[in-house]
Symmetry: C2
Subunit: 656 residues, 2 copies
């Protein structure tokens, strides 16, 4: 534990945060100018028109979508494309989501699920924005359990076409981005039926508008209407009344149908095939998690800068009123949230690097690593989006009435990011997925995990992820091993102790969940739903503890890779605050399980308050290191408040 | 502890919740029809136009504002006017806030701060809506510390007028409801200066628009522009450039200026006078707290009804997919929030009854009781509005993508209630006010509380509020006394034990805060800011624990007054869930302070999960008892989803 002596240059910290794709970040900071900023108070129609227009400028001006292969206009830069999305999210979340729908979901599905002829026919137009499209998976009746979609697509060998059909309203495609206004094609997910047999969910490329913008016969398009945010994205609904789809429009990488209707696939199990296809979603989840953190950084930058210039209440020992950031209660709101944002930044950066490695090469996907990515992406998407919702709300409140005015950006950040907690996978469902991965190593002890939703493929695949370390493995093991047996003698700022107690909590929770599931399986053999439902809260806590651990480990690894001593010292204190805030928030659990004494628990609170005091002078540095251009903040009160405070102080001095 | 046997008729529960102003509730449910519902997707201008039009219909159709004296069009029904506000909040929050600005803040200030000639001249027109007005207190630079407003109003005996002036932009009136579009007059708060002496903040009635809607010379009106919600309220900004205000426009109940400029007041201290004037705000805070809870009930009704009809994921042991409400994780989200909503309902009802008693009579205000009301209103406003923000967000997420569509109401509820946490008093500042009241009895031990903001009058006035019980005093004392000394032997569902542990936590926290302040005062004599700032988090926790206790006591009193045995039994279990959820959420504190053993702590979690199971069959009953008309919910998915699920089930059965 070393104190931070003197001010730290935010540029040193920024270098660490910008990481390997710094070039992408610099490029966007320089070029994403005022044209791209959200317009406050515009109507839904205006927002949609504006965002669509801007979208089509991104390929030429920013080289999006950079993840595509060079032959289709990209640079095969998977990591860079995620970082570009994070940058876009700091400017306008509608534009970021619209781009994600177009290039990530729609184009990504054509790329991942289609074969050469689909790529050659469409990817260039998709990349350039000449062909706008939709990813039509979610149905009104099935959002989380997409394996149970009700839309059918039935092959007819006589006409050599598929019959795409929406049997009832619950099977209608819903919430589909690009559908209400702009999309000309959609990748439509449906149950494939041929020769009277069902082969599970597959995807087809289906035209939904002609050049005049009218839907072809049998296609009905609806508008999801005004939403809680993201006004610039045209979410809509699609229904199909026995629409004929040519055989070659099946995206047939993972399942083919011959002219006579014979089905074949490189993957035998319908379920396993489907989850392999769903693997395409992993990039979307990594993008959404990163976008949530990017928006959180914008909100924190606004709230911290406001709290430095905004003053309220005088004290007998000062001439002027006190800046909000000097109040302990204000620091208690801002600093732990900021520390968590740093921790999640490092976890996200590590995830992006891993994604780039696994997806960036030319060879076939390493299945084990892909499964690990999926689990980590699910957990970090949940953690980052919930953190965003909580933190942006806190920042809005920390700016008082100013935080409620659209001109100060925070209402838009809040409204636009809100849906992130439930789209691209509902967070609770995603944490359950993480937990299933962790429990899989133990499944022999309590049987299949099918009692609890059907996402069993992941459970079959992911093995022994517990304590699989993601980064800085040897360093972390050395730190943990160096903690003496009698924990009470170790400072709570000892990194080894922090790592050990995070790891220990995860292990203990997992063991407990396994034990309870095993007992449940004995007592309630014929009630598989009850076996899992009785421990659902416990199991979700396992997943949350797991995500906490990989986040802390990523932070530790990030510090280890930081060369600049001043930046390193400051990050180390921020990491202390993150670790101790997590421990403090869950101190009930640690005390229940005898992990530390009541006296040590109280000491943690005192140390946290001490860290707040120590980090107070660096608050501004910590947000400046996010390097968000002033113009991107798009916040009136930051432009005006400092001048107002100075004028008032001068006036007060003159009249007193 | 008695289990609830069989279904409970929601009408029995509703009788309890409707309480003494049931007639007002029934009247509004019958008459607030579709005309009054929010319109989704309308523009800001449309919303303002619509809400203003509706506002002027309320006096004739609903007898608003019922709190006014009969001679000015009311019925002196203070409690009924708050309940009417709660009803309005379930229909449209913009309309509720607009009505609150017009009759509560603007008219309320004229009534409370003015004298007979102001009343006779204006109150009838204010009541009828013929004269729309503003409450111009907050300035750009001063929202929480309104004693430090910078607008001046200087008496000039030669012209016998006041000179109202905005010296700089930070002194501009900001966020003022009714200012941007509709207000013709404003009650303007400013520093009164006469004969070269300042006498603190007073209020004047000032015209801000003529009959043509134009501001008079010297008055500048701005628009606060689009906001995070409440689009139907025209918040604006007012600046005054040496505006001449006739002497008799001073609202002079608490301070008079004679023709020659001599100042006099029935209250000597500027500070004490100001806080007496601020007492007018208490009704606004009670209204906002009640409105927040009313909106929370709407959100919970939607989420619970959705969770009953929405199904997702199948299980091997069931034909159909599982309703969301059957999942433990979903129950863990909905039920504790619902139990807290019930608890806060009883606390709010008790507060409204007390307000009606203190303010309803003809005699002078009982100062001690008024101070108690102010403290309780502050605490419950903070608790109810934070609970609303958290719970509405949770409900939005619990409805997945549907929760993000405007047509399903939740985005509007969320956006409109958001500002409640910081307006009519910032919640953190309000909790500090509560804490100061609690600490006052001890102030001899550490000196004045002025080191910590200037709201010292309240601190001077409120005495010995700790353990002053608000309701069912003898019952609660009997229950607490009956708990045997060895707590561990008592069931965690024992009401006496729950009450005792709530009370004990508050006492212990308060004692600790006093001790720390006393030590601080010894060590840091010359740093009054630091003395208080070092313990700010502790002191806020005292206030929160205090609010928890009065809330639990109100719930217990409410159950005691419930005659129907089935309703009583169900409420008793809901009260258990409330009490144990609060304890569970703060179990770290209880364990740190040896209030129960780790084993008992784990038992509490098990009992909470048992309560969720027990209350699951009553979920729908618990929201039906809120008796919110279906049309008020204004939620498309509730109208449509059940039918979709049935059609899908029939189709599945036919095709399987």
């Amino acid at each position: 534990m070393s104190n931070v002596s003197g001010p730290v240059d935010p540029a040193r910290l920024q270098d660490v945060l910008d990481g390997p794709w710094a070039r992408v970040r610099y490029g966007h900071r320089a070029k994403l100018d005022a044209r791209f900023l959200p317009v406050y108070g515009e109507s839904g129609d205006e927002a949609r028109e504006r965002v669509t227009r801007l979208l089509t400028q991104l390929p030429t001006e920013f080289g999006m979508p950079s993840a595509y292969p060079p032959e289709y206009g990209g640079r095969s830069d998977v990591g860079g494309s995620i970082v570009a999305t994070e940058m876009l999210a700091q400017v306008d979340l509608s534009l970021m989501v619209k781009a994600g729908v177009q290039w990530g979901l729609f184009g990504g599905a054509v790329l991942a699920l289609g074969t050469r002829r689909h790529h050659d026919a469409h990817l260039r137009d998709i990349a350039s924005g000449a062909l706008l499209g939709c990813f039509a998976m979610t149905e009104t009746g099935h959002g989380s359990d997409v394996q149970q979609l009700r839309t059918t697509c039935t092959y007819d060998p006589r006409t050599q076409t598929f019959d795409l059909h929406t049997p009832h309203e619950a099977a209608r495609k819903d919430y589909i981005g690009n559908a209400a206004r702009d999309g000309r094609m959609a990748v439509v997910f449906a149950q494939l039926i041929t020769g009277g047999r069902r082969h599970g969910v597959h995807a087809w490329l289906v035209p939904i508008r002609n050049a005049q913008g009218d839907p072809p016969p049998g296609v009905t398009i609806g508008d999801a209407g005004p939403k809680g945010g993201l006004l610039g994205v045209d979410n809509g609904r699609l229904s199909f009344d026995h629409v004929r789809v040519p055989r070659d429009m099946l995206l047939d990488r993972y399942g083919q149908v011959t002219e006579d209707g014979t089905y074949s696939s490189p993957i035998e199990s319908d379920s396993r095939r489907f989850f392999t296809m769903l693997g395409t979603l992993v990039r979307g989840r990594v993008s959404v998690g990163g976008a949530a953190s990017a928006a959180t950084k914008s909100a924190l930058t606004i709230a911290v800068r406001y709290g430095d210039i905004r003053r309220q209440f005088g004290t007998p020992d000062a001439d002027r009123e006190v800046p909000l950031n000097d109040y302990l209660a204000h620091q208690r709101k801002l600093l732990p949230a900021l520390a968590t944002t740093y921790a999640l930044h490092f976890a996200q950066a590590e995830l992006v690097a891993a994604l780039d490695e696994v997806h960036g090469g030319d060879g076939p996907l390493d299945e084990q690593r892909q499964r690990e990515l999926e689990s980590r992406a699910a957990g970090l998407k949940a953690a980052q989006t919930w953190h965003a919702t909580r933190t942006i709300q806190m920042c809005r409140e920390a700016c008082g009435g100013a935080g409620y005015l659209a001109e100060n950006r925070l209402p838009g950040l809040k409204a636009d990011t809100d849906v992130f907690t439930t789209f691209e996978g509902d967070n609770t469902v995603l944490l359950q997925l993480v937990a299933k991965g962790l429990l899989t190593g133990y499944r022999d002890e309590f049987g299949s995990l099918d009692g609890w939703g059907r996402a069993s493929f992941v459970a079959e695949q992911v093995r022994a992820m517990v304590l699989e370390r993601t980064a800085a493995r040897s360093l972390i093991e050395r730190l943990v091993a160096s903690v003496p047996g009698r924990d009470e003698e170790v400072a709570v700022t000892d990194r080894g102790w922090q790592l050990k107690i995070f790891e220990d909590r995860e292990k203990h929770l997992l063991d407990g969940a396994v034990r309870r599931l095993r007992n449940g399986a004995t007592v309630k053999k014929d009630q598989p739903f009850d076996i899992f439902n009785d421990v659902q809260d416990h199991v979700l806590k396992v997943a949350a503890a797991h995500v906490d651990r990989i986040t802390l480990e990523a932070f530790v690894a990030g510090i280890e890779n930081t060369a600049d001593p001043a930046a390193r010292a400051l990050l180390s204190r921020v990491c202390d605050l993150y670790a101790l805030s997590v421990i403090e928030a869950d101190k009930g659990w640690f005390l229940e399980h005898g992990r530390f004494t009541p006296a040590r628990s109280k000491a943690i609170t005192a140390v946290v308050n001490g860290l707040l005091k120590e980090l107070r002078p660096h608050l501004r540095t910590l947000v400046d290191a996010f390097a968000i251009p002033d113009s991107w903040l798009n916040c009136a009160v930051l432009r005006e408040e400092a001048g107002r405070q100075e004028t008032m102080a001068a006036h007060d001095a003159a009249t007193s």
